[in-house]
Protein backbone atom coordinates (compact mmCIF):
# COMPACT_ATOMS: atom_id res chain seq x y z
CA UNK A 1 0.00 0.00 0.00
CA UNK A 2 1.57 3.26 -1.09
CA UNK A 3 0.32 6.48 0.41
CA UNK A 4 1.50 9.74 -1.14
CA UNK A 5 3.17 12.29 1.11
CA UNK A 6 0.14 14.58 1.04
CA UNK A 7 -2.02 11.65 2.18
CA UNK A 8 0.43 10.85 4.96
CA UNK A 9 0.33 14.47 6.06
CA UNK A 10 -3.45 14.37 6.29
CA UNK A 11 -3.23 11.14 8.24
CA UNK A 12 -0.69 12.73 10.56
CA UNK A 13 -3.18 15.50 11.35
CA UNK A 14 -5.88 12.90 12.03
CA UNK A 15 -3.54 10.95 14.31
CA UNK A 16 -2.63 14.15 16.13
CA UNK A 17 -6.33 14.93 16.69
CA UNK A 18 -7.19 11.41 17.85
CA UNK A 19 -8.58 11.13 21.37
CA UNK A 20 -8.54 8.06 23.55
CA UNK A 21 -12.34 8.14 23.84
CA UNK A 22 -14.36 9.30 20.85
CA UNK A 23 -18.02 9.38 19.97
CA UNK A 24 -19.06 7.64 16.77
CA UNK A 25 -21.09 9.10 13.90
CA UNK A 26 -24.43 7.90 15.30
CA UNK A 27 -23.80 9.73 18.56
CA UNK A 28 -22.61 12.79 16.64
CA UNK A 29 -25.82 12.91 14.64
CA UNK A 30 -27.91 12.38 17.77
CA UNK A 31 -26.43 15.63 19.16
CA UNK A 32 -25.61 17.80 16.14
CA UNK A 33 -28.99 19.56 16.24
CA UNK A 34 -28.37 20.75 19.81
CA UNK A 35 -24.84 21.80 18.84
CA UNK A 36 -25.89 23.85 15.84
CA UNK A 37 -28.51 25.66 17.94
CA UNK A 38 -25.85 26.45 20.55
CA UNK A 39 -23.35 27.80 18.02
CA UNK A 40 -24.60 31.42 17.98
CA UNK A 41 -23.79 31.56 21.71
CA UNK A 42 -20.39 30.01 21.09
CA UNK A 43 -21.22 26.42 22.12
CA UNK A 44 -18.28 26.61 24.51
CA UNK A 45 -19.87 25.40 27.71
CA UNK A 46 -18.23 21.97 27.73
CA UNK A 47 -21.26 20.03 26.52
CA UNK A 48 -19.84 19.63 23.06
CA UNK A 49 -16.14 18.87 23.59
CA UNK A 50 -16.39 15.32 22.24
CA UNK A 51 -18.63 16.43 19.38
CA UNK A 52 -16.07 19.05 18.28
CA UNK A 53 -13.30 16.46 18.56
CA UNK A 54 -15.32 14.11 16.33
CA UNK A 55 -15.55 16.89 13.73
CA UNK A 56 -11.75 17.09 13.62
CA UNK A 57 -11.43 13.42 12.62
CA UNK A 58 -14.60 12.81 10.58
CA UNK A 59 -14.82 14.79 7.31
CA UNK A 60 -18.23 13.36 6.44
CA UNK A 61 -19.80 14.56 9.69
CA UNK A 62 -18.12 17.93 9.17
CA UNK A 63 -19.77 18.12 5.72
CA UNK A 64 -23.13 17.18 7.22
CA UNK A 65 -22.79 19.92 9.84
CA UNK A 66 -22.03 22.54 7.18
CA UNK A 67 -25.02 21.39 5.14
CA UNK A 68 -27.24 21.69 8.21
CA UNK A 69 -25.95 25.21 8.89
CA UNK A 70 -26.62 26.21 5.27
CA UNK A 71 -30.15 24.88 5.49
CA UNK A 72 -30.98 26.60 8.77
CA UNK A 73 -29.44 29.89 7.63
CA UNK A 74 -31.55 29.73 4.50
CA UNK A 75 -34.75 28.94 6.38
CA UNK A 76 -34.38 31.82 8.81
CA UNK A 77 -35.89 30.13 11.86
CA UNK A 78 -38.74 28.39 10.05
CA UNK A 79 -40.01 25.42 12.02
CA UNK A 80 -41.66 22.18 11.05
CA UNK A 81 -44.69 20.53 12.59
CA UNK A 82 -43.75 18.67 15.72
CA UNK A 83 -42.99 19.41 19.36
CA UNK A 84 -41.65 22.89 20.04
Amino acid sequence: MNLRNDELERLLQLVHDTADQEIDCDEFHARVAAYVEALPAGAGDGRFVRLRQHLSVCPECAEDLEALRRALDGLGGEESPGPR
Binding site: M1, L3, N5, E7, L8, E9, R10, L11, L12, Q13, L14, V15, H16, T18, D20, E22, D24, C25, D26, H29, A30, R31, V32, A33, A34, V36, E37, V57, C58, E60, E63, D64, A67, L68, R70, A71, L72, D73, G74, L75, E78, E79, S80, P81, G82, P83, R84
Partner: protein
Protein backbone atom coordinates in the same frame (compact mmCIF):
# COMPACT_ATOMS: atom_id res chain seq x y z
CA UNK B 1 -52.88 15.19 37.27
CA UNK B 2 -52.05 14.89 33.56
CA UNK B 3 -48.33 14.62 32.88
CA UNK B 4 -46.81 16.84 30.18
CA UNK B 5 -46.05 14.92 27.00
CA UNK B 6 -42.43 14.06 26.42
CA UNK B 7 -40.83 15.16 23.16
CA UNK B 8 -41.11 11.55 22.04
CA UNK B 9 -44.86 11.50 22.76
CA UNK B 10 -45.41 14.75 20.88
CA UNK B 11 -43.42 13.55 17.89
CA UNK B 12 -45.61 10.48 17.66
CA UNK B 13 -48.79 12.59 17.55
CA UNK B 14 -48.31 14.00 14.03
CA UNK B 15 -51.54 14.11 12.03
CA UNK B 16 -51.75 13.70 8.25
CA UNK B 17 -51.68 17.47 7.61
CA UNK B 18 -48.61 17.69 9.84
CA UNK B 19 -46.95 14.95 7.81
CA UNK B 20 -47.53 16.87 4.58
CA UNK B 21 -46.14 20.05 6.11
CA UNK B 22 -43.19 18.12 7.56
CA UNK B 23 -42.43 16.68 4.12
CA UNK B 24 -42.58 20.17 2.59
CA UNK B 25 -40.27 21.47 5.32
CA UNK B 26 -37.75 18.68 4.70
CA UNK B 27 -37.81 19.46 0.98
CA UNK B 28 -36.93 23.09 1.74
CA UNK B 29 -34.18 21.89 4.08
CA UNK B 30 -32.61 19.63 1.47
CA UNK B 31 -32.82 22.21 -1.33
CA UNK B 32 -30.89 24.66 0.83
CA UNK B 33 -28.53 22.12 2.41
CA UNK B 34 -27.51 20.42 -0.85
CA UNK B 35 -28.25 22.90 -3.64
CA UNK B 36 -28.28 21.48 -7.16
CA UNK B 37 -27.42 17.95 -6.02
CA UNK B 38 -30.76 16.35 -6.94
CA UNK B 39 -33.08 16.54 -9.93
CA UNK B 40 -36.69 17.33 -9.05
CA UNK B 41 -37.64 13.67 -9.52
CA UNK B 42 -34.79 12.46 -7.38
CA UNK B 43 -35.64 15.07 -4.78
CA UNK B 44 -39.14 13.59 -4.39
CA UNK B 45 -37.63 10.19 -3.62
CA UNK B 46 -35.01 11.61 -1.29
CA UNK B 47 -37.60 13.64 0.62
CA UNK B 48 -39.80 10.57 1.04
CA UNK B 49 -36.85 8.57 2.35
CA UNK B 50 -35.90 11.41 4.70
CA UNK B 51 -39.47 11.69 5.97
CA UNK B 52 -39.56 7.94 6.63
CA UNK B 53 -36.32 8.17 8.59
CA UNK B 54 -37.57 11.08 10.65
CA UNK B 55 -40.76 9.25 11.50
CA UNK B 56 -38.96 5.98 12.21
CA UNK B 57 -36.41 7.71 14.40
CA UNK B 58 -38.68 10.06 16.31
CA UNK B 59 -38.67 7.90 19.44
CA UNK B 60 -34.95 8.68 19.66
CA UNK B 61 -35.52 12.46 19.62
CA UNK B 62 -34.05 13.56 22.95
CA UNK B 63 -35.58 17.03 23.17
CA UNK B 64 -32.12 18.68 23.38
CA UNK B 65 -32.98 20.86 20.37
CA UNK B 66 -36.02 22.01 18.44
CA UNK B 67 -37.72 19.12 16.67
CA UNK B 68 -37.30 21.06 13.38
CA UNK B 69 -33.54 21.17 13.73
CA UNK B 70 -33.33 17.50 14.67
CA UNK B 71 -35.57 16.51 11.72
CA UNK B 72 -33.41 18.60 9.39
CA UNK B 73 -30.26 16.84 10.62
CA UNK B 74 -31.83 13.41 10.06
CA UNK B 75 -32.95 14.39 6.55
CA UNK B 76 -29.52 15.73 5.62
CA UNK B 77 -27.75 12.62 6.87
CA UNK B 78 -30.15 10.45 4.86
CA UNK B 79 -29.65 12.49 1.70
CA UNK B 80 -25.87 12.67 2.10
CA UNK B 81 -25.68 8.88 2.47
CA UNK B 82 -27.57 8.51 -0.80
CA UNK B 83 -25.27 11.01 -2.53
CA UNK B 84 -22.18 9.20 -1.24
CA UNK B 85 -23.50 5.82 -2.44
CA UNK B 86 -24.20 7.33 -5.87
CA UNK B 87 -20.72 8.82 -6.05
CA UNK B 88 -19.20 5.42 -5.34
CA UNK B 89 -21.32 3.78 -8.05
CA UNK B 90 -20.35 6.49 -10.55
CA UNK B 91 -16.66 6.17 -9.68
CA UNK B 92 -16.79 2.42 -10.29
CA UNK B 93 -18.60 2.95 -13.59
CA UNK B 94 -15.96 5.42 -14.76
CA UNK B 95 -13.20 3.06 -13.68
CA UNK B 96 -12.04 5.56 -11.12
CA UNK B 97 -12.21 3.16 -8.22
CA UNK B 98 -9.36 4.40 -6.09
CA UNK B 99 -8.86 1.27 -4.09
CA UNK B 100 -6.01 -0.75 -5.48
CA UNK B 101 -5.89 -3.60 -3.05
CA UNK B 102 -8.28 -5.82 -1.18
CA UNK B 103 -8.36 -6.10 2.61
CA UNK B 104 -7.91 -9.84 2.69
CA UNK B 105 -10.12 -12.36 4.44
CA UNK B 106 -11.11 -11.32 7.93
CA UNK B 107 -10.36 -14.76 9.33
CA UNK B 108 -6.66 -14.25 8.67
CA UNK B 109 -6.64 -10.69 10.00
CA UNK B 110 -3.68 -10.29 12.30
CA UNK B 111 -3.43 -7.44 14.74
CA UNK B 112 0.20 -6.83 15.60
CA UNK B 113 1.16 -5.17 18.87
CA UNK B 114 1.18 -1.38 18.69
CA UNK B 115 4.84 -0.99 19.61
CA UNK B 116 6.85 -0.65 16.44
CA UNK B 117 10.58 -0.28 16.10
CA UNK B 118 10.74 3.17 14.57
CA UNK B 119 13.79 5.25 14.06
CA UNK B 120 12.29 8.37 15.58
CA UNK B 121 13.91 10.75 13.14
CA UNK B 122 11.70 11.09 10.11
CA UNK B 123 8.12 11.68 11.20
CA UNK B 124 6.45 10.73 7.92
CA UNK B 125 8.79 7.80 7.47
CA UNK B 126 7.97 6.56 10.94
CA UNK B 127 4.27 6.99 10.25
CA UNK B 128 4.64 4.96 7.05
CA UNK B 129 6.43 2.21 8.94
CA UNK B 130 3.84 2.25 11.74
CA UNK B 131 1.10 1.76 9.17
CA UNK B 132 2.95 -1.25 7.83
CA UNK B 133 3.77 -2.87 11.15
CA UNK B 134 1.08 -1.80 13.63
CA UNK B 135 -2.17 -2.14 11.74
CA UNK B 136 -4.23 -5.09 10.59
CA UNK B 137 -4.96 -5.55 6.88
CA UNK B 138 -8.51 -4.31 7.42
CA UNK B 139 -7.28 -1.22 9.22
CA UNK B 140 -4.78 -0.37 6.48
CA UNK B 141 -7.50 -0.80 3.89
CA UNK B 142 -9.97 1.39 5.81
CA UNK B 143 -7.40 4.13 6.47
CA UNK B 144 -6.29 4.23 2.84
CA UNK B 145 -9.85 4.20 1.52
CA UNK B 146 -10.90 7.09 3.77
CA UNK B 147 -7.83 9.12 2.81
CA UNK B 148 -8.69 8.57 -0.85
CA UNK B 149 -12.20 9.90 -0.33
CA UNK B 150 -14.15 6.67 -0.56
CA UNK B 151 -17.42 7.20 1.34
CA UNK B 152 -17.58 5.34 4.65
CA UNK B 153 -20.87 3.69 3.64
CA UNK B 154 -18.99 2.08 0.75
CA UNK B 155 -15.96 1.09 2.81
CA UNK B 156 -18.21 -0.52 5.41
CA UNK B 157 -20.05 -2.50 2.73
CA UNK B 158 -16.74 -3.64 1.23
CA UNK B 159 -15.58 -4.85 4.65
CA UNK B 160 -18.90 -6.55 5.36
CA UNK B 161 -19.61 -4.37 8.37
CA UNK B 162 -21.56 -1.26 9.38
CA UNK B 163 -20.40 2.33 9.71
CA UNK B 164 -20.22 2.31 13.50
CA UNK B 165 -18.01 -0.78 13.51
CA UNK B 166 -15.91 0.84 10.78
CA UNK B 167 -15.51 3.94 12.94
CA UNK B 168 -14.26 1.80 15.83
CA UNK B 169 -11.83 -0.01 13.50
CA UNK B 170 -10.39 3.26 12.23
CA UNK B 171 -10.32 4.87 15.68
CA UNK B 172 -8.34 1.91 17.00
CA UNK B 173 -5.99 2.25 14.03
CA UNK B 174 -5.40 5.94 14.70
CA UNK B 175 -4.72 5.21 18.37
CA UNK B 176 -2.20 2.52 17.42
CA UNK B 177 -0.42 4.90 15.06
CA UNK B 178 -0.35 7.60 17.71
CA UNK B 179 1.06 5.16 20.28
CA UNK B 180 3.73 4.04 17.82
CA UNK B 181 4.82 7.59 17.05
CA UNK B 182 4.94 8.47 20.73
CA UNK B 183 6.96 5.32 21.44
CA UNK B 184 9.40 6.49 18.76
CA UNK B 185 9.86 9.77 20.57
CA UNK B 186 7.40 11.92 18.62
CA UNK B 187 5.24 13.55 21.28
CA UNK B 188 2.18 15.72 20.55
CA UNK B 189 4.26 18.88 20.32
CA UNK B 190 6.68 17.39 17.84
CA UNK B 191 3.81 15.98 15.78
CA UNK B 192 2.21 19.45 15.74
CA UNK B 193 5.55 20.95 14.71
CA UNK B 194 5.86 18.37 11.97
CA UNK B 195 2.39 19.23 10.67
CA UNK B 196 3.23 22.95 10.63
CA UNK B 197 6.52 22.29 8.79
CA UNK B 198 4.75 20.27 6.13
CA UNK B 199 2.15 23.00 5.68
CA UNK B 200 4.80 25.55 4.73
Amino acid sequence: MTESPTPQDSARDLGSDDLVRLGDYLRRVLVRALPGRFSSTDLDDVVQEALARVLAGRSSFRGESRFSTWAASVAIRSAQTELRRRRSREDRTRGLEALDFEPGPAIEDRTPEPVAILEGEDLLGDLREAIRSCLSDRQRFAIMAELRGIPTVTIAERLGTNQNALYKLVHDARKRLKAALVAAGHDEDSISAGIRRNER
